[in-house]
Symmetry: C2
Subunit: 328 residues, 2 copies
Amino acid sequence: MNHEIRIFTEAQIRAAVALDLETVNVTEEAFTALAAGTVIMPPILSMELAEAHGEVDVKTAYLAGRESFALKVSTGFYNNAALGISSLNGLMILFSARTGLVEAVMLDNGFLTDLRTAAAGAVAARALAPQNVETACVFGTGLQARMQIEAAHLVRPFSKVLVWGRDRKKAEACAADIAKAINVEARAESDPAKAVEAAQLVITTTPAREPILKAGWLHPGLHITAMGSDMALKQELEAEVLTAADLYVCDRVSQCEALGELRPARAKGLMSGITPPELGQVLNGTHAGRTSETEITVCDLTGTGAQDTVIATHVNGILENSGTVIRA
Amino acid sequence: MNHEIRIFTEAQIRAAVALDLETVNVTEEAFTALAAGTVIMPPILSMELAEAHGEVDVKTAYLAGRESFALKVSTGFYNNAALGISSLNGLMILFSARTGLVEAVMLDNGFLTDLRTAAAGAVAARALAPQNVETACVFGTGLQARMQIEAAHLVRPFSKVLVWGRDRKKAEACAADIAKAINVEARAESDPAKAVEAAQLVITTTPAREPILKAGWLHPGLHITAMGSDMALKQELEAEVLTAADLYVCDRVSQCEALGELRPARAKGLMSGITPPELGQVLNGTHAGRTSETEITVCDLTGTGAQDTVIATHVNGILENSGTVIRA
C-alpha cells in the first residue's frame, strides 16, 4: 500500500518539544485516560540479550477516540558507555488507529521516553506532593535524576535540591547541573537518610536491586516518587515504605506488581489483597489524593505505553509537515 | 546518538528478494537456530483494537552470533478492504545486537511477513511432505493461499492444484492465478474432503475458528501444513488430526499451544503430556521426520520472530548501501 510515511530525527523532535508544562499536561492525559478505562494497553514485551548486556522493551497503547497509536521500542545496552554511545536508545512508530498503516517513524534514540518519563514525575508531584516543597531530593545521578528534578520544579518551585548517589563525584556533578539548569541551591548529600529528612519531595531514579530508601526515614509531609524500578529484580523502596505511607499510588497496578515496587512488597507478604489506586484515579477524583500537608504519599512509576502514545501523537501534531517523506 | 539509519521502502525490498529457493534456505536457518537453542524469542505482544476491527502483533528474536536482530510489527485491520487498502500492513526494524541502535527501518507494509511465512511453508514441505507430490491442495483463497502453493512448488514440483474456499468464485480466481504463476493445472474443488483425498500435500491458510479439515479425511502418504491459526480462537484442523497423524510438528511448541492447532487439541484433552517436536529438530536430525512415503505428517506454523530476524538481516545484506540514509 503506497502511502506517505514521515521520518523524524532526534534533532527535529528535540526542536519540537521540551520539558515544560505543556508536555506535563499532555502526559497527564495518559493517566486520566487509563483511569477512565478507555485505554487498551497490552503487557510489555521484553527481551534480554545477556551476551551484550542488553535489553529491549516494547510498549504500546491505544487510547479510545484517538486517530493514532504509538508503539515504542526502548533498547538498553549497558556496554555502550565503553564505545562512547548512550546506553538507552530506541524509536517510536505512529500507526493509524483506523487502518494500521505506519504514519510516522520517530528516530528519537529514546529522547521521547526520557521526556515522557520525566513529565510523568511532574504529574505525580503535582497530584500528590505537599503544596509547599522547599527542598527536593533525588536518588541517582543520571539523566533522569536531572530531568525528574527539572520536571518537578515546574509544578513545585522548590529552592533547594539534595542529590544522593553511590558515587560522590557523580552526585556533585549532577547537583551542579541541576543548580545551573533551574537556578536553585543544589548539593550532593552523602547520607541518604539526611537527604530524605530534609526534603518534602523525594524522587528515586536508580536501577537499584536492593532497597535504598528505608521506611524508618519517612516523616510527615513527604512525597516520594519511585521511578527507577521498571523490571522484576529492581527495587528502590524498602517494602515497608508502601504500607507505612498514608497513600501508595501506581501508574498501572498490573505493571507495578510485575515490575515496580509493588512486586517485592507483595513477595514479602505486604499489600496482599490490596489493590492500590492508580495515578489517573487521583487525577480524576475517583480516589482521594493527599488530604493534608502532613500526609506521606508514594507514587510508583513503571512507565506506560499510554504515555508513549500521547507524547508521540503530540509531537506528530507539532511536526506535521516537516520530516522526510517516504512513499512506501 | 547521531548515527546513520537506512530507510527501505516496500518497492526497494520487493526488488531485492523474491519467493525463491534462496529465501526458503534463509528462512530454514530460523528453524535450525531455534532447534539449536541459541535463539532468544520472547512471547508475542498482541493488541486488539476491536472498534476498528484491528489487531497488532509484535515479534522479535535474537539469534546468537548475529550482528543484528529484527523487531516486526504486523497490523491487521479488517475494515481496510472497504477503503481499498490491504488489511495487513506493518514494518520491520533492524537493531544492532551489540549496541541496540536502530540500523534500518523496513517499510515493507507486511511484504516480508508474507514472504517468510510462505517460505516457512516450503521449509515444512521440503522436510516433511512425501517425495512424490503430484497434487497439492490449498484451503483458503487469499494471498497466502497463492504464495504457499508457489513456495511449496519450489520444493515439490507438483503438476496439479486443488483450491477449496467457502466462496467458489474466489477459489476459482485463486486457482487461475496459481495456474498462471507456476504453470500447473489448477482448479477449484467445492468438496474439501475430495480435495484432501486427491492430494499428497495440503496447506491450510484460513482464519477459520471451527475445524475445516476433518481427521476422517486423512489418508496414507499425506502431509498437511496448517498456517492459518496464529491466535487463540482460530482452528483449522479437527483436534483428532494431530493424534491420527504419524507425526505432528510445531514451528515453536510454546506458540502452537497458545495460538496454533495444539491449543484446541489440548483443550479437548488430546496431546496431554506430549511435547511435540519442533520443525528445527526434524531439520537437524535430532527428531525423526517422515520415515516412509505412506506416513501422515502435520506441521503447525504460527510464525516466529526468528523468521523475521533472518529475513530482515538477509534483505539488509542485499540492500546494504541503498535506501534513504537518515542521520538521527
